[in-house]
């Protein structure tokens, strides 16, 4: 195949924005987007709540500076302040840009883009389209990419970077329709494959495919991963499936109640109540459950998210998806009854270590969106900042790669390397005798992570988690693929996704064990306070000779000094 100037892996918000911006920056470039699903299926579509931008449409006194401060405080001061500057300053422009391209934002009475309150934000600055914001943004970007004639390789599963010395020659991927392993030689590669929170499996709100493929690819290529221990638990996952009830439900005025009918958030965040930041609200729910104030059910303990007082009209017009999901997956109509909820792994703050221009340590390799870690979310991401992140840094990645592609010579990927890749994924996975089922390993991985590397962490739990993961990796060697077909072998794909999750789970547990403090989403029962003297820094996890090796990186400070984080 003819070498590409840019190969973008992932067709969600970050990948599509990158493609669009790269074409805009230099229309002569040869750009490809690879995605393991049709781009419009990407998990960006599941983002319900909205995207933050200090437009000042709702609260006239809102400013970019306030957005910056809220984000830094929300991150528990682990975000890099120069990166947050970029995120928040670009926000109004990028939201308007999307609007100009056709995103159907909900509207205020004066016909400007509507905004609503969101957790951890000092002003109502979350722009939305009812509760399908991510879906409509993704549609807009996909439509615009089709308009621009972006070349898509849909249903290609990315396997590895081809590495030559200090740089990459491009990407190796499996064509799902044929089972062939194909080379994508490229001057630059942008990894934008989304997050890794699906490793918590049934205790995760994520799509089945959010298995951290891009992070695992980078990790195997020797690129460090940053702050992997920070996994955000969303306070309100549906009890049975882990699926998400948007923060918008609380933004619109929903109550969290325990089994005594008490609005328990008054104990944890008396001022912000239900609209406290996610990590705090999740811990509050978990504490209520641990202290016996939750409801009991065979599917586990849970609490109530009560919307009944909001009335049928508001629920139908502002939260229709939530109503549909509650009815489909819990059998509950939120107009009449409270929704059973409990915290669910939702977002990965950690990811591939990049600079503010999305560059990784490997020349010509960039990462953006949830796949990358700039870091703008630090130890805890604010609601409404993830859509913003993928847009802003997706665009930067596209621009940077387009500008820098000329610096690099196109890479070459040999037939021998492809053959070796093919042998690795297809040859070794038909063990005779006793074998392991990937479905069981996957479920066990989710369980041990939720129990031992979950909301509340502690030394002995983490040790248990680490040894469980090691054991699962060992058992994975005996995993069997029962589908021998070349055509659309989803069995093989799921096994490869499990491999990625196992690799990354190790880095999450290792980071969590090392970080002897509590900060943002990372709560250590044995180290309950934030320890700025020793731990105000990023962790870096690098694969060295098959083992996780931890390093560190300083946090970039700016106008805001360290403060205690209260709400």
């Amino acid at each position: 195949m003819k070498p590409f100037d840019i190969v973008i892996v992932g067709g969600g918000g970050a990948g599509l924005y990158a493609a669009m911006e790269a074409m805009k920056t230099n229309p002569a470039l040869n750009i490809a987007v690879l995605s393991k699903v049709y781009p419009n299926r990407s998990h960006t579509s599941a983002a319900q709540g909205g995207a933050n931008a200090a437009l000042g449409n709702k609260a006239k006194d809102d400013t970019v500076e306030m957005h910056i401060f809220d984000t830094i405080k929300g991150s528990d001061y682990l975000a890099d302040q120069d990166a947050v500057d970029v995120l928040c300053s670009e926000a109004p422009k990028i939201i308007r840009e999307l609007e100009n391209m056709g995103t159907p934002w909900s509207r205020m009475e004066d016909n400007t883009i509507a905004q609503r309150p969101f957790g951890g934000a000092g002003r109502p600055r979350c722009c939305y389209c009812s509760d399908k914001t991510g879906h409509t943004i993704l549609q807009t970007l996909y439509e615009q990419c089709l308009k621009k004639g972006v070349i898509f390789f849909n249903e290609y599963f990315a396997l590895n970077l081809s590495v030559g010395g200090s740089r990459s020659n491009g990407l190796i991927a499996m064509n799902m329709k044929t089972g062939k392993v194909e080379a994508f030689p490229a001057k630059t590669v942008i990894l934008a494959t989304g997050g890794y929170a699906k490793m918590y499996w049934n205790r995760s709100s994520n799509a089945a495919g959010n298995t951290g493929d891009g992070q695992a690819i980078a990790y195997r290529a020797g690129i460090p991963l940053k702050d992997m221990e920070f996994v955000q638990f969303h306070p309100t996952g549906l009890r049975k499936s882990g699926l998400l009830v948007t923060e918008g439900a609380r933004g619109e005025g929903g109550y969290l109640l325990n089994k005594d009918g008490e609005r328990f958030m008054s104990r944890y965040a008396p001022e912000k109540m239900e609209l406290g930041p996610r990590d705090l609200v999740s811990r509050s729910l978990e504490t209520e459950i641990l202290q016996g104030r939750g409801f009991d059910s065979p599917a586990g303990k849970y609490l109530h998210l009560d919307l009944t007082h909001l009335g049928a009209d508001l629920i139908k017009s502002r939260l229709p998806q939530i109503r549909e999901m509650a009815m489909n997956f819990e059998g509950v109509d939120p107009i009449e009854e409270p929704i059973p909820v409990r915290p669910t792994a939702h977002y990965s703050m950690g990811g591939i270590d990049t600079d503010n221009q999305t560059r990784t340590v490997m020349e010509g390799v960039y990462a953006a969106g949830e796949c990358g870690c700039v870091s703008v979310h630090g130890a805890n991401r604010l609601g409404g900042n993830s859509l913003l992140d993928i847009l802003v840094f997706g665009r930067i990645a596209g621009r940077t790669a387009a500008e820098e592609a000329g610096k690099f010579t196109p890479g070459r990927i040999s037939e021998a390397e492809l053959a070796a890749q093919f042998e690795e994924i297809r040859g070794g996975m038909h063990p005779s005798g006793r074998y392991e089922r990937y479905g069981e390993l996957r479920e066990e991985l989710g369980q041990t992570l939720a129990l031992n590397v979950g909301i509340f962490r502690e030394s002995s739990l983490l040790q248990k988690g680490i040894s469980d993961i090691a054991e699962l990796k060992e058992r994975f060697k005996k995993v069997r693929i029962s589908d021998s077909s070349d055509v659309f072998n989803t069995n093989l794909m799921q096994v490869l996704e499990l491999k990625n999750m196992l690799d990354l789970a190790e880095t999450v547990a290792a980071g969590a064990y090392a970080r002897q403090e509590s900060r943002g989403s990372h709560t250590r029962i044995d180290f309950p306070v934030r320890d700025d003297a020793n731990w105000h820094k990023h962790t870096l996890a690098t694969l060295v000779k098959g083992n996780v090796t931890l390093g560190e990186k300083p946090v970039t400070m700016g106008r805001y000094e360290l403060q205690e984080r209260t709400y």
Partner: protein, 344 residues
Amino acid sequence: MTVSTDQHKEGKKEVTFRVFRFNPQVDSKPYFDDYTIPVERGVTVLRSLNYIKEHIDGSVSFRAFCQAGICGSCGMRVNGLSQLACTTQVWDVLAKSREPGIIKVEPLRNLPLIKDLIVDMDPLVGKMVHYSNWIDSTMPEAQMGKKEFLISEEEFLRYDKATDCILCASCVSECSILRANKEYVSPAVLLKSYRMSVDSRDSMHETRLAELVKDHGVWDCTHCYRCQESCVKSIPIMDAIHGLREDAIESRGKNDTSGSKHAEAFMTDIEKKGKLVEATLPIRTNGVVWTVQNLLPMAMKMIMKRRTPPPPPLVKSVKGIKIFRTMFREMTEHVKQDHKSHKK
């Protein structure tokens, strides 16, 4: 308050999933495999398929991603009806199943089959491109990001429902025109076209419409409403199709295409007589030459079988035609007004 959350304790049912199988590498034609598993209340078809894949037969192939009814990956036919496996409850399907205890799972229709329950979505994407299913903004690219368009709630509501579409292709699978003509534009693409055309930010309304009125386009729909009935997001797709047709007549005139002429002939007949004058309908729609060339053999056959429609002078007006005409004119006036206010 919740009375009981233990609904799923209510026991299990043995359910046989009769799954469509086809692997192009080894099978010359498709067949069905039966998998019988116990299913509790509250379990979806997708969860059942996942169970079968993980525990019984890893080679059963289907797409699934978000598993929450948002991404549109798992469209398939369950007991003959196209829907999302992830939002379809097994017990609900069972209650309406013709064969007790059996649920038949097949791939979507009208798209090329790849393997088992997986069909090729490329033709649909190709049509989205062909019919410019995007906003071509009136704002020049260089100006973007500087200021918002001001858009009324009223305009937003015009395309709000249409933007719910997740391209699951259930409507494509159910469409009766597509079964006969794979080149037909498709309901989902008409819906998206409509969504773009009522957006005041869009600048290529007329160009898009010019493509839509051609063969295989908006006039080919026969109003069977199956798209709308099967829409997993309950989107009124037919409203969009009607909207596009009204647009076409308004901006391109009544004599634009055979489609618009056909619609106009209906209007004239209904206003005049309260029913159709079928004998001359083909001539008024497609002209004399076309009718002679294409319909003569059929006309002969109809004469032989004495099934010809009555000649125009013999078509009598329906009873109460005067009141009907008043109502008819009032209605058309309403539609015109409605259309004008949309254009603003």
